[in-house]
Amino acid sequence: MIKKELLLTMARCAAIVCLIAVGVFAIIGSAETNRYSRPSYTPSKYSEVHNYEVSVVDIDNNPVKGATIEYKVFDNKTFHASGKYTFQNTSSINRAPYKLSPDSNETYFRYELKVSPDTTYSSWIDFKSKLEYVMLADGYYETSGALTSDYGSYFTGSAYTSESPKSTSERIVQKKVRLYKPIDYFSNEFLNIEKDAKLKSKVIAFVDVIKVQGYLSDAYLEFHSINSSEFKNNKYLKFRFDNSITYNSLKLNKYDIAKHIFDDVIRKILNPLNDYISDPKRFYGYDLTVIGHTKSFADKYASAKAIEYRFYIPEGAVKSYKNKDISGQQLIDKSIILMDDERIDLKLQ
């Protein structure tokens, strides 16, 4: 009996000692660890609010009335919501961009998302969100894209290192989406001088085809580039492309790049060009300019140098090439090729 009481007393004493230890530790441990350079493994915040603001303008920076945005929102990697919004008020695009009251300004599409923390990795607390959009408007080419935000994310660091910020984005992610119409590819001069509506519609059909059907994966038709030009007393229909590929100058010289550009860009557009715009009475041929880029891949700080390749190709030769009457080399031989305004010969093999 006495022994049992003794044991009980000892247990009480042990419990009290433990309690005191816990109590003291609770005091010491109550202060914030970032002052002590201690690691932190749980998120400091339960959610972050990410805001997206999307506006839509045309090539001249004017709001596009009636444009519709179809959007999908993701909280970290989880699908959160989707919907549609039609831009109504287009009177002023620059009004109160940071006011988030829903009814004060309809020029912007706004989405406010409460993002939950992603604690997949012990050293990172991520607050990531994404807004995918497709922008549509009558008479404009559809465009799509995505906006992301990691506002509020931070790096907790390894043991005994102080925290450092990880977020790169602002709380409000803003994007001005630009929509383009087919005539945005026409030069003003061409629009004013060329009175032939039929020709314009043919050119628009060609632009539609190369844009919508994706004939060119690595080259872009430049805006305001479609025009007419003259060379050696012949009239050409002019198109100007920018090739997004940068070629390695250590492996390919300027002539090799010209061959690549002929294969990757020119060859691909000859068929639709001849299908849609074939008017020998109006044009002798096509003036196709492609901007190529080259740099030394051995030098990581080297900046790319632009080279202008200009192909004056007679329409008749294109037709023959299309009908397989002549080869690619023969087509080149019938054409005039300028490299940075110097005439060159090109041998494909």
């Binding site: 109590g23 530790f25 005091i27 010491i28 660890t33 002590y36 493994y41 400091s44 915040k45």
Partner: protein
Amino acid sequence: MINLKQFTIGLLTLLLGVIYYVLVRNPGKVYAIQGINWLWLANLNNFHAINVAMRFLSPAFLHSCSFSLLTASILSEGGDRKYIAVCLFWAAIGSLFEFGQYLKPDILAKYFDLLGVGWLIELTYHYFKHGTFDIFDIVNTILGCLIAYKIMLFTKEQEAI
């Protein structure tokens, strides 16, 4: 064996202290509770009563009150003197640590390498060094002990189980 009422009230007060740190402070950075996912407690933010309570409570108050009650609940027999001793003890502990933040004793820095407890000494050193002395924390500590003492007296009649 223990006074269940005192123990329960003490435990609830301690939980309230944890909720305070989760809702008001930064739980991911509080050493004693970091490493635990307290996100579920964050939903308590939606309760107005809890939000109001958090405005009036202080960690110093909750700490001294809860640990006084928990210690008293373990004592074999509840007596006024024992209760007073327990409350005084926790009031002294709380106040000492608060005064430590005023005095900031650098001598602790010499014992960071002390086998086994060096990390605790280092933690204490940083607590003193970076903490802010606040006389209201001492008032709250004493107030917590007084409230705990009152609760002890109310729950004293209950037969210890």
